[in-house]
C-alpha cells in the first residue's frame, strides 16, 4: 500500500480529513493537521487493511524561530503487511502541544517523555509527563535551535 492509497483510505473513512502526501520522505509519508492526528493514528492502528501495530519511533524536530514550526514525526510499521509509513504533524512553536498516543501504543509513553524533555512539546493527557534524560531541575529544552544553556548547575560550570 502506497502513501497515496493510505491518504485515500483516510479521506474515505474519516470525515473532513485533510491529508497530504509527502514525497520527499523515505519511507513515504503523510502530513496531517495537529487537531486530527489522534483519529488518524487510531484509524491506521485499527483499520484491518493497514494495521500499523508497531510504533517504531517518534521524532521531534524544531525548525527554529524564523519558521516558527515544530514537527512531530511518527514512524509506523505494520508487521503483517510489512509496511512502513511516516506520519508528520506540524505544531505551533510558541505553544507546542499535541494529543498523546500512549494509550494506543504504550511505547509512546517514554518516547513522548523524551521529546518533552529535549524539545518541550507538551503531550496532552499523557499519563506521566516528566523529564526522562535530563535532571528534573534542568532549565530549558536543549534540542531547540535557540537553546542557551544555563551558566551554573548546582555550582558546576556548564560551559566546558
Amino acid at each position: 500500500m502506497s502513501a497515496e492509497e493510505i491518504k485515500d483510505l483516510l479521506t474515505h473513512t474519516l470525515e473532513g480529513m485533510q491529508v497530504e502526501v509527502d514525497d520527499k520522505a523515505e519511507p513515504k509519508g503523510i502530513k496531517v493537521p495537529p487537531s486530527q492526528i489522534k483519529p488518524v493514528l487510531q484509524e491506521l492502528y485499527q483499520n484491518p487493511s493497514t494495521y500499523f501495530d508497531m510504533l517504531s519511533c517518534i521524532t521531534g524536530v524544531d525548525n527554529g524561530p524564523e519558521e516558527n514550526i515544530m514537527e512531530i514525526i511518527y514512524q509506523l510499521y505494520s508487521i503483517p503487511f510489512n509496511l512502513q509509513v511516516m506520519v508528520k504533524v506540524q505544531l505551533d512553536r510558541e505553544v507546542p502541544k499535541v494529543e498523546t498516543v500512549s494509550d494506543i501504543w504504550k511505547t509512546a509513553n517514554w518516547q513522548e517523555r523524551e521529546i518533552y524533555d529535549l524539545l518541550g512539546v507538551h503531550f496532552e493527557n499523557h499519563p506521566d509527563l516528566r523529564r526522562i534524560l535530563l535532571p528534573a531541575d534542568w532549565e530549558g529544552h536543549p534540542l531547540r535551535k535557540d537553546y542557551k544553556h544555563q551558566e551554573y548547575y548546582r555550582g558546576i560550570k556548564v560551559e566546558y
Binding site: A25, C57, N82, Q84, K106, T107, L134, P135, D137, R154
Partner: protein, 405 residues
C-alpha cells in the same frame, strides 16, 4: 583554579534533581519504596530503579535514566555526517560495528550510492558486524548468569569474547569503538591472514558453544531461576515496541535482516530462532537467553559463509580499494529519512533530516533499542518478587550507553 569548589552540596540536591515518583506520605502502610542503583553491578551501568513493593511483591518499577546522557543528538546537529560515526560507536559500545553498519547504510541510502558499494566491502561489513554480534551476545549471556549468581560462565564468555576483540583490534586498531565502517566503504581492507585466523576461531568456538549450553542453558539451577519468570506476552511486546531477541523470545519471527534484506543478508542462509516456552512459558527469561544462544549459532553460520565468499568470489586483490566509493563530499538531497537495522539488542533506527544545503544533518535522531526495550520492565516485573527483578532486568540485555545516548 585548583581550589575552586566544583559542586555546591545541598541536602536536597538529589531529591530535586531526580525526585521519586511515589511519595512517602502517599503510600499505604504495607507498601515501601526501595531504591536500586544507580551504582549497582546488576544494573549493567548506571540505572536507578525505584521499586514500589508490597511486602516482597513488586507493584511498580519506575526506572530513572539519564546518568550516562552524552547529548548524542545535540552533538550530531553540529557535526558532518562522517564525523558522527565515532559518536554512534559510543551508543551501544558492546556492538559498535552493528551500529556503524546501520548508520553508514542510512547515509548511503540518502546519497543514493547503496548499490555502488563493492561486494567485498559488503561482505566484510557483514562479517565484522556478525563477529560483534557474537561478542555482544557473549556479554549478554555471561553477565546474565553472573547477575543471578553463577560466576564461571562470565569468565568463559569473556575468554571467548577476548578473541573477537583482538581480531577486531587487528582489523581496525581499537578493541571496542572501531570507526571502521565508513560511509561508502571501509577504513581498510582486512589484514592479510585475517580470514584464516577467523576460521581457526570458529573451529575453536564450536565445541565451546556446546559447553555453554551444558553449563547454563540446560543447568537445572539456571532453569529453575529463570523459567516462568518475567513472562512477556507477544501482543504486549509489540505494543511496547520491543524488538530483537526479546520480541523473538515472545514468539514472533521478526528479524529485520530477513524482512528488509539489507546489505548481503539475502545471499546468506540463516534461520530466525524464536522462543517456544520449552522450559516454562513462552517469552520468559529462560526463552530470552535461549534465543540469544541460538542466535550465536546462526551468527557462526553467517560468519562461515562470509569467510567462504571472501576467500572465493570476492578474494583479496592487489588493486582492491575499500574507499573507492567513499564520497568526497557528503551532501544528501533535502528530505526526511528513516533507516533501521537489526542490532544484537533490537531494531536500531536513525531518523535524518537533511536540508540539502550543508553536509551537517539538520536533525539526527537515534531510535535506541535498549531504551525502548527497557520501557517494558514495569509491565513484566509487576507482581513478581523483588529477588526476580534482577533476573528480569538482566534478561532484557540493556546497554546504558544506548539507553541514555
Amino acid at each position: 583554579m585548583a581550589n575552586e569548589i566544583q559542586y555546591t552540596y545541598q541536602e536536597d540536591n538529589l531529591v530535586r534533581s531526580e525526585p521519586n515518583k511515589y511519595k512517602e506520605e502517599e503510600l499505604r502502610s504495607t507498601e515501601v519504596v526501595i531504591n536500586l542503583g544507580p551504582q549497582h553491578p546488576s544494573t549493567h551501568g548506571v540505572l536507578r530503579l525505584e521499586v514500589l513493593a508490597d511486602g516482597e511483591m513488586i507493584k511498580e518499577v519506575v526506572p530513572h535514566l539519564g546518568y550516562l546522557h552524552r547529548c548524542f543528538e545535540k552533538h550530531a546537529e553540529s557535526l558532518p555526517y562522517n564525523q558522527i560515526i565515532p559518536y554512534v560507536d559510543r551508543m551501544d559500545y558492546l556492538a559498535a560495528m552493528n551500529s556503524e553498519h546501520a548508520y553508514a547504510m542510512g547515509v548511503e541510502k540518502m546519497l543514493g550510492i547503496e548499490d555502488k558499494i563493492p561486494k567485498r566491502v559488503e561482505f566484510i561489513r557483514v562479517l565484522v558486524a556478525e563477529l560483534n554480534r557474537l561478542a555482544s551476545h557473549f556479554v549478554a549471556v555471561g553477565t546474565y548468569a553472573m547477575d543471578i549468581g553463577a560466576f564461571t560462565p562470565f569468565f568463559w564468555m569473556m575468554r571467548d569474547r577476548e578473541h573477537i576483540q583482538r581480531m577486531l583490534e587487528w582489523v581496525s586498531g581499537a578493541r571496542m569503538l572501531y570507526n571502521y565502517i565508513w560511509i561508502g566503504g571501509l577504513f581498510y581492507d582486512l589484514p592479510v591472514g585475517f580470514e584464516e585466523r577467523c576460521q581457526q576461531y570458529i573451529r575453536y568456538l564450536k565445541p565451546k558453544l556446546k559447553e555453554l549450553e551444558d553449563l547454563i542453558i540446560n543447568n537445572k539451577i539456571f532453569v529453575e531461576r529463570t523459567a516462568n519468570v518475567g513472562v512477556l506476552p507477544r501482543d504486549l511486546a509489540i505494543n511496547y515496541g520491543v524488538t530483537g531477541p526479546m520480541l523473538r523470545a515472545s514468539g514472533l519471527r521478526l528479524d529485520l535482516r530477513k524482512v528488509d534484506g539489507y546489505s548481503v543478508y539475502p545471499e546468506l542462509d540463516f534461520d530466525i530462532p524464536i522462543g517456544e516456552g520449552k522450559m516454562g512459558t513462552q517469552g520468559d527469561c529462560w526463552d530470552r537467553t535461549y534465543v540469544r544462544v541460538l542466535e550465536i549459532h546462526e551468527s557462526v553460520k553467517i560468519i562461515e559463509q562470509c569467510l567462504e565468499r571472501l576467500t572465493s568470489d570476492h578474494k583479496r586483490t592487489r588493486d582492491f580499494d575499500p574507499q573507492q566509493v567513499v564520497p568526497k563530499k557528503i551532501r544528501p538531497k533535502a528530505g526526511d529519512f528513516y533507516i533501521r537495522a537489526e542490532n544484537p539488542k533490537g531494531e536500531l533506527g536513525f531518523f535524518f533530516r537533511a536540508d540539502g544545503k550543508s553536509d551537517i544533518p539538520y536533525r539526527c535522531k537515534a531510535r535506541a533499542c535498549s531504551f525502548v526495550n527497557l520501557s517494558v520492565i514495569s509491565e513484566i516485573a509487576r507482581g513478581s518478587l523483588i529477588a526476580d527483578l534482577v533476573a528480569i532486568l538482566g534478561s532484557i540485555d540493556i546497554v546504558l550507553g544506548e539507553v541514555d545516548r
